[in-house]
Amino acid sequence: MLRRQITINNPSGLHMRPAGVFVKAATPFQSAVSFDIRGHTYNAKSMINVLSAAVKRGDEIELRIEGEDEQACMDAVVSAIESGLGE
């Protein structure tokens, strides 16, 4: 399993549009993708879960990715976050 801390810098956090881009980045991979914030774990392939996490600007999340294609998946998700999730 891969883990990585990353900060969300979108102006309004993970609201509808960036949440959608985030989920779309994680979905194509076989691996299970989740993230932890404030002591809870959320499924990164679920829009409703990602929205429920109410991630705000400046929040740090811990990505956890497990599966055969975990490295490729981590690269894709991190690059999506670093390029601003479509914003």
Partner: protein
């Protein structure tokens, strides 16, 4: 039959009621087998497909709304929540869908996060669409309405509104909602009339709706139809005739420039104003950002909206008025309580100064947005120089903080005041030394000068911007602004009153701010005005105005270009001018 609602988007619409059916679907719990899970997943797939087809046919912004609904319909967690409930509780699909979607909607609503709480409406919208599809009802397809439809509904949902073909719709009527409802915003962005607070209209009824007055005529007579058609045709012709002024400079016949600005309040107004050929935004009413929600908009959220306005106007100025709110509005989270005299009470700058955290968040958002365009800050309800000095020192401190944090903001942002209290107007000379600009708020200035609540029918006839007391104060303020070499504008309804345009120009007012739709008309008047003549006429007579009839004589004299007889003012004119009030 005539119905009275509230007009929330201007214009006249004639057409046939297209009533959006809301299906009453039973969501009570029933015993059911595992086939319910299959029925549910089939419906979710079918709905995703329908929304996908519709998303392909609309513009990008609207497609994004529909696509976010599709993502939720394909969400593994959401799907399994519903399926699990169907299996565990051996219940019907409708019950499970309602329970799961409502639970998320409630969770979002109570999250305390402003953006997330707005998603509650999306959850309910998707739920209703799902329930309709599960029960074999077709979703209303608003892209294939009959021509000349007037859309009529309890309330208009996001997913329905995103599919509307504007060419087929002549207006909107909703039973629920207000000025800031989804439907009102959509109607204004489409430039179509809308009336809310009216129910009981039948599908196919012929309607005339007036989005200005809120009046609806159901199944009008031929005479009424003819009357409104000619009214619409008249407006259309006027608008067409004014089109030749688009793109022309706003200057008087003797070459004096006047800036024409648009008033905006909602995010949706930004685009409209930037297309209205306005020279900038003269009044950005920020209070709408604070209304109809459960917590104040964050600095980030405000920054995003102000930045959007700054970018849309570029070098053209955007004058942002800081929060102007008080006890006449009930906004529980702001802690504003009903007051006996809300317009003389804890409002605008008085409130903001006591709630510095809220005020500072707004000012920081404005300062940061000013890095992206030409933003000016306008302080409302200033009555005492100390209020201006306080705000300026707070702004200086916030600029220092932003600089220390390495956050970009515009340097030397202009800070001006609304001149709307008699105190500020009388002391205009003193304020002009410390403010970067004035903007005369004629609505409140008239109210405070005349001591009249214009919402009170018993005294409303006293409320008139034509009252010489108001006109003379405006004249005084504009002279002081000139003497101290700062710009002086007009915002408020008088800014778009064609009868007052020449008066303002002659006073030396440099900016008029108004609803975007009025820009071309006011430009046409200014181009026909000779500044020097208007100035001479006003300088000679303004001090002698004694009653509203004198004012009317002056305003009509300015219009006709005929010099007035000197004192007693306009004896002959008086006989031909009807008094605007009913004083007989």
């Amino acid at each position: 039959m005539r119905l009275q609602g509230a007009g929330v988007s201007e214009g006249i619409g004639i057409g046939f009621a297209y009533v959006l059916q809301e299906h009453a679907i039973d969501v009570s719990k029933k015993d059911a087998g595992p086939e319910e899970g299959y029925r549910f997943s089939k419906a979710a797939e079918a709905l995703s497909r329908i929304l996908g087809e519709r998303a392909a046919a609309v513009d990008k912004e609207r497609a994004e709304i529909l696509e976010s609904h599709i993502m939720l319909l394909r969400d593994p967690v959401l799907l399994s929540d519903v399926e699990k409930m169907i299996t565990d509780e051996r219940c019907n699909g409708e019950y499970a869908v309602n329970a799961v979607f409502e639970a998320y909607a409630e969770l979002f609503r109570q999250s305390g996060d402003e953006l997330l709480s707005m998603r509650a409406d999306d959850m309910r919208d998707i739920k209703n669409n799902l329930l309709a599809v599960m029960n074999g009802y077709a979703l209303p397809d608003l892209s294939v309405l009959p021509k000349d439809s007037i859309l009529t509904a309890e309330e208009l949902t996001t997913s329905a509104a995103a599919c509307i073909d504007e060419a087929l719709v002549n207006g909107f009527v909703a039973a629920k909602g207000g000025t800031t409802s989804h439907m009102a915003i959509i109607a204004r962005s489409m430039g179509l009339p809308a009336v809310v607070g009216v129910g009981g209209i039948a599908h196919g009824d012929r309607l005339i709706i007036n989005g200005g007055t809120g009046e609806i005529i159901v199944n009008p007579s031929q005479a009424e139809l003819a009357e409104y058609r000619s009214l619409m045709e008249g407006r259309r012709r006027e608008r067409q005739a004014l089109e030749k002024y688009r793109g022309m400079p706003t200057e008087t016949s003797d070459g004096r420039q006047v800036e024409l600005y648009a008033n905006i309040g909602l995010e949706a107004d930004i685009l409209k104003a930037s297309q209205a050929d306005a020279d900038g935004v003269g009044l950005f009413r920020t209070e709408f950002l604070f209304m109809n929600r459960s917590a104040a908009p964050s600095e980030e959220e405000q920054f995003a909206v102000y930045k959007k306005a700054a970018l849309a106007f570029g070098k053209r100025p955007v004058i942002i008025r800081t929060l102007d709110i008080g006890g006449d509005k009930e906004i529980p989270y702001l802690g504003l309580e009903k007051e006996e005299n809300p317009f003389l009470g804890w409002r605008a700058i008085r409130y903001c100064a006591d709630r510095e955290e809220l005020f500072a968040a707004q000012l920081r958002a404005i300062l940061r947005a000013s890095a992206f365009g030409t933003i000016k800050i306008m302080l409302p309800m200033i009555a005492d120089l100390r209020e201006l000095r306080y705000a300026r020192s707070l702004i200086r401190r916030l600029c220092g903080e932003l600089a220390a944090q390495g956050i970009a903001f515009g340097q030397n942002i202009a800070v001006g005041i609304m001149v709307e209290t008699p105190a500020a107007a009388l002391l205009a000379g003193a304020f002009a030394k410390e403010a970067d600009f004035f903007s005369i708020g004629t609505n409140d200035l008239t109210q405070y000068v005349m001591a009249v609540d214009r919402g009170n029918q018993k005294v409303a006839k006293l409320y008139s911007a034509y009252n010489p007391a108001v006109l003379r104060l405006i004249y005084h303020v504009s002279q002081e602004a000139r003497r101290h070499n700062i710009p002086c504008g007009i915002c408020g309804e008088a800014g778009s009153d064609p009868l007052l345009t020449r008066f303002f120009v002659g006073c030396g007012i440099s900016e008029l701010s108004m609803a975007s739709a009025c820009v071309l008309e006011i430009r046409s008047i200014i181009r026909q005005t000779a500044y020097a003549d208007a100035k001479a006429m006003i300088d000679a007579s303004v001090e002698q105005l004694a009653d509203v009839e004198d004012s009317m004589a002056l305003l009509q004299g300015l219009e006709s270009g005929q010099p007035l007889r000197t004192s007693p003012l306009g004896q002959t004119n008086r006989q031909v001018i009807s008094s605007p009030g009913s004083w007989s």
